[in-house]
Amino acid sequence: MCFKNLPIDIDASGRMTLREEATRAFAVSQSPANAGPKPLSEASIKELLARNGYIKNVDFDPVTRVAGALAFHAVVDLKERKVLDTSSMATLFRGYEVIMNGRDPRDAVFITSRACGVCGGVHSIAAVKAIEMALGLVPPPLGIVVRNLMLAMEFNYDHPLHLFLLAGPDYSQLVVESSNPSVWAKAKTYEARGRDMHGYRTLAEIMTDLNPLSGKLYVEALGMTRVAREAYVVLGGKYPHPETIVPGGVSTTVSLQTFNEYYVRLQQLFDYSKKVVAIWDDLTEFFYACDPLYKKCGQRPGNQAELGLWDDPEAYDASFANCDNWGEKRWSTPGVFINGELVTTKLTAINAGLEEFVEHSYYEGWDGKRFAKDPLGNPLSPYHPWNKETKPKPVGQNWKEKYSWACSPRWDRQTVEAGAYTRLWATAAARKMPKNDFCEATGKSLRFQLPKVQLPEMEMEWKIPEVWNTFERNRARACAILFNNAVAMNNWLQGLNYLKQGKTEVSTPFEIPKRGTRIGVGYSGAGRGWLSHHVELDGGVVANYQIVTPSTINASPRDVWGNPGAYEQAVLSTPILEEFDRPEDFKAVDVLRTLRSFDPCMPCTTHVYAGTRVISREINTCACGVDD
């Protein structure tokens, strides 16, 4: 049974029915089963704070140290080296959903793209998919291939930035030597297993080159993001915010020459991905060898959700009716995992299980009566995005009540997380990916056959980890570059074939019907995983638009039942392994590593309001506190 908390039955044909009357079925009075660490009660924390001098409020505001849109509050017991309570707070409201109301749906492609300056093309693609579904518009195969190639390169831009410019410095010599001198001492003699691939003899050599600003790996990543960006621009004309992604395909001109220019860059990225994986493999295994407790850092239950990505040009017809079929034919398979078990790969079920709650967010509720059913007649919750309305209502921040501009998306009323790694996991476990020469899903792993470029041809494998934690998120994100490249290679070959066959159309003309109500959903993905755009068109204009981003899923505050969001859970389970004698020397590196392992992208999360807040702090890390 796919759903444990929502009273929805699914028959063999995939049709869903409610076990009870809708008002009762979607009531929130009953608390769902929700595995995962839970914070202490407010009263217990107050009591502990009052009587134990080692328990401190720690505020990371902003998490990114200078300004930023993510703040994180934790209560930490420095003696027991435990995190007792956490609150994740998105501090900006950007209102893209509100801006979209009443507009021509074509505007969504360009406007929602601006929801983020990091993920510069993914919102455009999610928007066109939503519009294509609403209009019944099918792009020609080459148009789909070009979009796939662009997405792969966007992620190749995104992942190295995260791995080496954002997360990498937390594992660098400069940080490790001061936060964990014993780990640094071991690193000096610990032999790196991937030496043939990356050229480093010891872990200390890797860590030295991870040093921010000057480290070779850091600087190299900056250069490689440029290669990926160039490849994107060869096809998309511009990045970020390409103007060539249109409903019904793309508006770019593709030729053998553009494909060749793309390929030259893809080759460089193939070699780079081999090296990146070897580096993050070495880092992960080294930390586990130093102290097995590192496996507990950022650990969460295996609850993750992914919509799949990279459409099969022969299967994608943009329809909701066939979305289970074309969804499962994507290069990365849609999937939801609960406690490590793959519970569904069907987009209809994934869609039906999605709800958003705002009890701890700066929004008002809504009546939720727009759509009782999806286009196939499956039941929809009043909290589903097609029923949701964005009604901002800023109030004073209060950890017990409202404290974030992110809302709380849940699947089957459970906290899930999203990431590039979920894409790997779902594809590996489901074994539904198309047969090809570069990547194989084994059920327990993804096995890559990587062509020779400068580095020799080789096989690499990403195995589904036993536990999901801070380190595995980064390791999997490194392997996601391999996956991007394998997908890009397959699509590149497929695109050449279409060119050879004379199938050179890249877009399908369309008109916006001026009458009637239509709905659509763009099931898509960002560098950080799940990205959905739900749209309702009425009389040819947008009547409602709802975006769920991966960072909203991950940075969500507590839900209506008080269950923490993914960041909050992950930090709650993080042991404090940093070495320090006095509380004032505490740098919270373990917490920061955990937060950064999600690759936070806050502009996306907080879809503009600069709220005022007062955060008191007893200990501040190198983060600036804000008292405005």
């Binding site: 902003p62 990114t64 140290r65 200078v66 300004a67 930023g68 849109a69 993510l70 409201f93 950007r94 209102g95 801006i99 601006r114 983020c116 300056g117 990091v118 510069g120 930035l161 995260h162 410019l165 954002l166 410095p169 921010p212 600003l213 900056l222 993001t225 440029r226 960006r229 990045y239 970020p240 915010h241 936070p600 992208c601 806050m602 502009p603 996306c604 503009v608 309001y609 600069a610 190198c622």
Partner: protein
């Protein structure tokens, strides 16, 4: 003189979006030959590094313009030549990390671009004091009045040989 006027700032934040408002206005004017104008916000400082590195021949002058919060309660602006002096490495890295996670800040642009040797020698910063930092598509009335003056200043900084 090959020069770039680049704005920094989120849209829809009233006066904090003054940079994009200036660039939008200048895009409708005929600027001196060799002067480009664009909003650098999308892509952030890393995108700006890439763009500056890719531009051949490179820009000889760069003018960054953006809104900043101030407490004076008055709309105003100031401009100065970028000294090229970087803050301590911790702060530079903090700004890079912030850039990577999508946060925009006027000073992060010259700092990150300087760190990665993407800046020309002649760089100007125009800081516009935001009177109203709340949500809004348009600048506040006092800022609206001031914008033509700021646009003229930005043009002069970009176009005149001895700015």
């Amino acid at each position: 003189m090959k020069a770039l006027i680049g704005s920094v700032g989120y849209f829809n934040l009233t006066d904090l979006s003054a940079g994009p408002h200036v660039v939008e206005a200048l895009q409708n004017e005929t600027l001196a030959s060799g002067v480009d104008v664009c909003d650098l916000s999308y892509g952030g400082p890393i995108g700006a590094v890439h763009r500056l590195n890719e531009t051949k021949p490179p820009y000889e002058r760069l003018v960054f313009v953006g809104g900043v919060e101030n407490e004076s309660g008055e709309a105003g602006y100031r401009w100065y030549r970028w000294t090229g002096k970087l803050p301590p490495p911790d702060e530079v890295q903090a700004r890079v990390a912030e850039a990577v996670s999508g946060v925009l800040d006027l000073l992060s642009f010259p700092i990150v671009c300087q760190q990665f040797q993407a800046l020309p020698e002649d760089v100007w910063i125009v800081e516009i004091d935001a009177l109203d930092c709340g949500h809004g598509l348009e600048p506040s009335p006092p800022m609206k009045k001031l914008l033509p003056e700021i646009c003229a200043l930005v043009r002069r900084l970009a176009e005149e040989e001895d700015a």
